[in-house]
């Protein structure tokens, strides 16, 4: 196999966006509130 199928790549981006995008957003909110 040369690479990931496109559908797997889409799911990878989907999962990463929710998990890591989400945690970054909520951590940003927490830090913003703390140092406001």
């Amino acid at each position: 196999m040369n690479g990931l199928p496109l559908s797997a790549l889409v799911m990878l981006i989907f999962g990463a966006a929710i998990c890591y995008g989400g945690i970054t957003y909520f951590l940003y909110r927490a830090f913003k509130a703390r140092y406001k």
Binding site: M1, A8, M11, I23, L27, A30
Partner: protein
């Protein structure tokens, strides 16, 4: 931080990737996130709100709601305490394997080493066998470590989790990066992530997603109530719940890469299909992974150490968080010192763990885990939800959370806690009963009764007895 450490445990590494793989691959992420946002996060907000409001552990919190409901809190504290008695044995195995990694002691046949040499597995649960001294010694080390962390109280836990939360994450990241550079890794990742959308019409896939979220986030164990009782008055409850739940999901998602890249490499090296390899539970950690490590082209020892160290550090904060509700419970009930309460609980826990160090330990571990994860936890979650939402006023906890939170929760949350979550938990419970009626878990039936049903019923009665005990304050008045 401690709540994140509690939520992230061994299950993130050895359960989530397998569940995702068998339930539609990448497509599983859709029901998983739906479950996370409709059950996991709402329940976390509820437990955080209860602990933050009562400023007490689970038993005292439920007592504050209504004297006759104290047993629910004790039950919620007892279930993780039973779970930790075998969970810590798995950590003891990890500790032994961490040492074995130094000379790759499992050799070329990791399965035979694990089953025969390491566990000395007997022919069945009734042939108890002797205590395995290497496991016993590792168990002593792990229990002592847990005692040292807990006996000084929440201050020391705060310091420990500053290391035990980020460290396994870094190790897991290194493992995933190293795994992805191995030949055959992409084949493994493609197994993990290629979506099979037809599975989304299968009710069992949705149930698996809810079950995974429910067990992984660490709700219905009194843990989040205990931890939230230490939160500062102004702590943002909703934001904290989102951070804990998403950190847990992010770890599970990352673990899939560390696991499946190595599985892909192993399948390619041995010329067999991935579906023929053990990719879940102890089989993954103590048979499949060591086999792959032995085949690595370079840095085999380093890789072994990194893997078992990450499992140990993932497990340690989950382990002490499972003990904490019981410790806080007896400390607050009888007004004894934290050190004394921790010593009592650790000693009782250690004695109970001894069964799992015997030749039949794996059988009993399997039976108890099956019943406590399918019945014990779900039942506690259901009763907790019913008491808090129906007996007490769920809107009260929403208003309490909104007082300190930036993100305001609407009435939709009441609907989720009152109707959606109890309905899902009831379906999960009925599905487990139906599955057992159709195909009993293990034979003979009285082993199931002895190992599974009896402890579940016993802790219910233990919770009632603990509730009836008079507190020191009540004795003097």
């Amino acid at each position: 931080m401690a709540a994140i450490g509690s939520a992230i445990g061994l299950g993130n590494v050895w359960r989530f990737p397998y569940i995702a793989y068998t339930n539609g691959g990448g497509a599983f992420l859709i029901p998983y996130f739906v479950a996370l946002f409709t059950a996991g996060i709402p329940m976390l907000i509820l437990e955080f709100s209860v602990g933050h409001w009562s400023r007490h552990g689970a038993p005292e919190s439920f007592k504050k709601i209504g004297k006759k409901w104290e047993w629910v809190g004790w039950w919620a504290a007892l279930v993780p305490f039973v779970i930790v008695t075998y969970y810590i044995v798995v950590m003891a195995w990890c500790f032994s394997y961490l040492i074995y990694s130094l000379d790759l002691r499992w050799g070329l046949n990791a399965e035979s080493f694990f089953v025969s040499d390491f566990l000395s597995l007997t022919t069945g649960p009734l042939e108890i066998g002797g205590i395995r001294i290497p496991i016993l010694l590792s168990l002593l080390v792990v229990w002592f470590l847990v005692f040292l962390i807990l006996y000084k109280g929440v201050g020391r836990i705060g310091k420990v989790v500053m290391i035990t939360v980020p460290l396994p994450w870094i190790l897991l990241l290194i493992l995933a990066i190293r795994g992805l550079t191995l030949p055959g890794a992409l084949e493994g990742i493609s197994y993990y992530l290629t979506p099979n959308f037809s599975k989304l019409s299968d009710l069992n896939v949705w149930l698996a997603a809810y079950a995974q979220v429910f067990f992984s986030v660490g709700i219905a164990q009194g843990i989040m109530i205990s931890y939230a009782s230490h939160l500062q008055k102004k702590s943002d409850i909703s934001n904290n719940a989102f951070i804990v739940a998403l950190a847990d999901s992010g770890t599970s998602f990352l673990a899939g890469f560390a696991v499946f890249s190595v599985i892909g490499y192993l399948a390619m090296s041995q010329g067999i299909g991935i579906e023929h390899l053990g990719i879940a539970g102890p089989q993954l950690a103590f048979i499949t992974y060591p086999t792959a490590i032995s085949l690595f082209p370079v840095a085999t020892i380093v890789f072994g150490i990194l893997f078992y160290l990450s499992l140990l550090t993932f497990g340690i904060d989950s382990a002490f968080s499972m003990i904490e509700p019981m410790t806080i419970g007896i400390q607050q009930k009888w007004r004894i010192t934290k050190g004394k309460a921790t010593a009592i609980i650790c000693l009782v826990g250690f004695i109970a763990s001894l069964l799992f160090t015997t030749g039949s330990g794996l059988y009993w571990l399997d039976i108890l885990d099956y019943f406590f994860s399918r019945f014990g936890l779900v039942l506690v979650g259901l009763i907790e939800c019913l008491v808090l939402a129906w007996v007490f006023r769920v809107a009260f906890f929403r208003e309490h959370a909104n007082k300190t939170s930036d993100i305001l929760i609407g009435r939709w949350w009441d609907v989720l806690i009152k109707y959606v979550v109890p309905a899902i938990l009831t379906i999960l419970l009925l599905a487990a009963v139906y599955e057992n009626v159709l195909k009993p878990y293990v034979q003979p039936w009285w082993v199931v009764l002895l190992g599974g049903v009896t402890p579940c019923v016993a802790i219910f009665f233990a919770a009632c007895i603990l509730m009836k005990q008079k507190t020191k304050k009540e004795e003097t008045s």
